[in-house]
């Protein structure tokens, strides 16, 4: 008995001593940088936390296809991230680094921006369903029922799921959130670092039944997905995914994936872009084990929000297309992305992709190379499309007219 106690005491002391050993964990984005890249000064870009005024920005450099128009829908929403649309037309906007949720309210031709929630823990994920706004913070998902009737006092909300960041991971801890056709809330749980072996809850897309609070693992091997939507024809989940960093400008490609059922594995950290084994974790593995992407989107383009277009305003050939917001590259010597892409699909197959909104990228070798960064998309009831820009704190509107 005494020996058992002594062993337990020794173990208790051993843990803190061991924990001190690795003194300097690199930042999550810096982790996994090979010696060949040690001189690289590439670094992520931070948004203007105080936002920038639309009048000071080169809006006239934005390009859209003939017949389309892009304009500012709302500004003064610092670090505007995810978008959600209320039944009564309220547009909800989230933050990732900052801590607030905003509402854009339109009445009598006037638009007003209100801060409705504050002091949240990285509240990146937003989705609206049947009168309720769901907000995904770093560690929990909360339901705000009947929120459009009480924007000035939404209350505390009701916790749907919690303990979603048990390891307090250093990177990719912000969540995207969407309501599935099965009535379950889908959210990502990213890889804690650039390239590392995830736990069972990490590098995954999870779902929770808001009625029971039970969380399930839906898709594995997903490094980080910050945008997904369901194909209205096949009902399958499509999602964007960021590939790992520090393997060069063009490798690996970021991905657009489709999950045809629960339980698929999309490759991380073993296999990237469906055909490239990781130099470390891919040893003795095969890419054939994993579900390949539906489309390679390009190296480090950082695809975020994606939506199937089902509105009535755009030309008929846009029906069922996917629009993808590409936040733009940092881990690349020649920058790319910073745009909205159009992807034409047939069922669960990609037919083609082409640029839809461009012009944010000014100089692909400058630091910073861009003046704005698209984040998330929203199809409005009139068929126009909104997209957010966290770099400036602006929401834009894209509309179409035959004239």
């Amino acid at each position: 008995m005494r020996n058992v106690v002594a062993a337990a005491v020794a173990a208790a002391f051993a843990i803190p001593a061991f924990a001190q050993a690795p003194a300097s964990p690199p930042p999550a984005w810096h982790q996994g940088k090979p010696p060949a890249q040690s001189e690289s000064t590439l670094h992520p870009f931070a948004p203007h936390m105080t936002g920038r005024s639309a009048k000071d920005l080169p809006l006239d450099t934005l390009k859209v296809p003939a017949g389309f128009k892009v304009e500012v829908y709302a500004e003064g929403i610092p670090e505007a991230r995810s978008l959600a649309l209320g039944d009564k037309g309220t547009v909800f906007v989230s933050n990732r680094i900052a801590k607030n949720v905003y509402a854009i309210v339109s009445s009598g031709g006037k638009r007003e921006v209100k801060q409705i929630l504050k002091g949240l823990n990285s509240p990146n994920g937003l989705t609206f369903s049947k009168g309720t706004l769901y907000v995904a913070e770093r560690d929990k998902i909360t339901a705000y029922e009947g929120i459009e009737g009480k924007l000035d006092n939404p209350g505390e909300g009701k916790v749907v799921a919690e303990n979603l960041d048990p390891d307090k991971q250093p990177g990719h801890f912000w969540k995207y959130l969407a309501m599935g056709p099965d009535g379950k809330l889908y959210f990502n749980h990213g890889s804690p670092q650039n390239i590392t072996m995830p736990t069972y809850i990490q590098a995954a897309i999870l779902r929770v039944d808001p009625k029971t609070g039970v969380v399930e693992n839906f898709a594995q091997g997903v490094r980080n997905s910050v945008g997904f939507d369901w194909n209205p024809k096949t009902k399958h989940l499509w999602f964007t995914e960021h590939g790992r960093d520090w393997l060069g400008d063009d490798s690996p490609s970021d991905e657009l994936n489709v999950a045809t059922r629960a339980g698929q594995h999309f490759g991380f950290p073993y296999c990237h872009q469906g055909d490239t084994l990781d130099p470390e974790y891919g040893k003795q593995r095969s890419c054939k084990e994993f579900t390949p992407p539906a489309l390679k989107l390009g190296g480090h383009v950082a695809p975020l929000g994606m939506k199937f277009y089902n509105g009535k305003m755009f030309p008929a050939e846009y029906q069922g297309n996917i629009l993808i917001a590409r936040h733009g590259s940092w881990n690349r010597t020649v920058k790319q992305g910073y745009d909205v892409m159009r992807v034409v699909v047939d069922g669960d197959k990609v037919v083609k992709q082409e640029p839809f909104v461009t012009g944010f990228l000014q100089n692909d070798r400058a630091d910073p190379p861009m003046w704005g960064r698209p984040v998330d998309l929203l199809v409005m009831k009139d068929g126009s499309v909104l997209f957010s820009d966290d770099y400036n704190g602006i929401v834009y509107r894209v509309s179409y007219s035959r004239k």
């Binding site: 930042p27 203007h48 005024s53």
Partner: protein, 196 residues
């Protein structure tokens, strides 16, 4: 008459170029708001107090980001928290634009010969130059640390190491974990004496 017209045209062009340069924010409006800052940060944004940072020559985004951090309560300081409490985002951008446009004075601090040699080794070893730039002049949201006031630098590095100093993206908290007290002494002495 022709000459007058031409110089008027030249003046218009000059005006456009100037307003182009001041695209992001209104430095004049910022100057008016910044009058109260001078008591601690110096008349021209060059602090003479070793514990108070110099703002002159800082990247505008770095200044606006820190004002935001104070207002939001992420970074706390008895002097700065109330200063930032009532500033709008536009005020912060304007103040940042004003200080960013001022010239950083050559540092008064004299780095020891030993630390002048050790300093560049440490700024490479601890990845300072990766984000703060090869000359440590800062960029975008990342502050200039060359020529910064020594006790201010020391307090920030110790705060990051103790995870008590607010950090936008976790990079400094992470970078500071490996620093010993001796490393901090060397870095502070080196950086505080480093000219632009």
């Amino acid at each position: 008459m022709t000459r007058i017209a031409r110089s008027a045209a030249a003046a218009t062009v000059a005006l456009c170029l100037f307003s182009g340069a001041a695209l992001a924010a209104d430095a004049e409006a910022g100057k008016a708001k910044a009058a109260v800052c001078a008591a601690c940060h110096g008349n021209d944004g060059n602090s003479t107090d070793p514990a108070v940072p110099t703002l002159a020559g800082q990247p505008a985004q770095a200044i606006a980001t820190q004002l935001f951090q104070f207002r939001e309560g992420n970074r706390q300081n008895p002097q700065m928290t109330p200063m930032a409490a009532n500033l709008s985002n536009a005020d912060m951008n304007n103040i940042a634009e004003y200080f960013s446009g001022l010239k950083a004075a050559p540092p008064k601090h004299q780095t020891s010969a030993a630390n002048a040699e050790l300093g560049p080794q440490l700024t490479k070893k601890f990845n300072c130059t990766q984000c703060h730039g090869p000359k440590l002049l800062g960029q975008q949201h990342i502050p200039r640390i060359a020529g910064q006031q020594p006790e201010y630098l020391r307090a920030q590095l110790k705060g990051f190491k103790a995870s008590t100093r607010a950090d936008l993206d976790g990079n400094m908290t992470s970078a500071a974990q490996a620093l010993t007290d001796k490393d901090i002494d060397v870095l502070v002495d080196y950086l505080a004496g480093l000219g632009g």
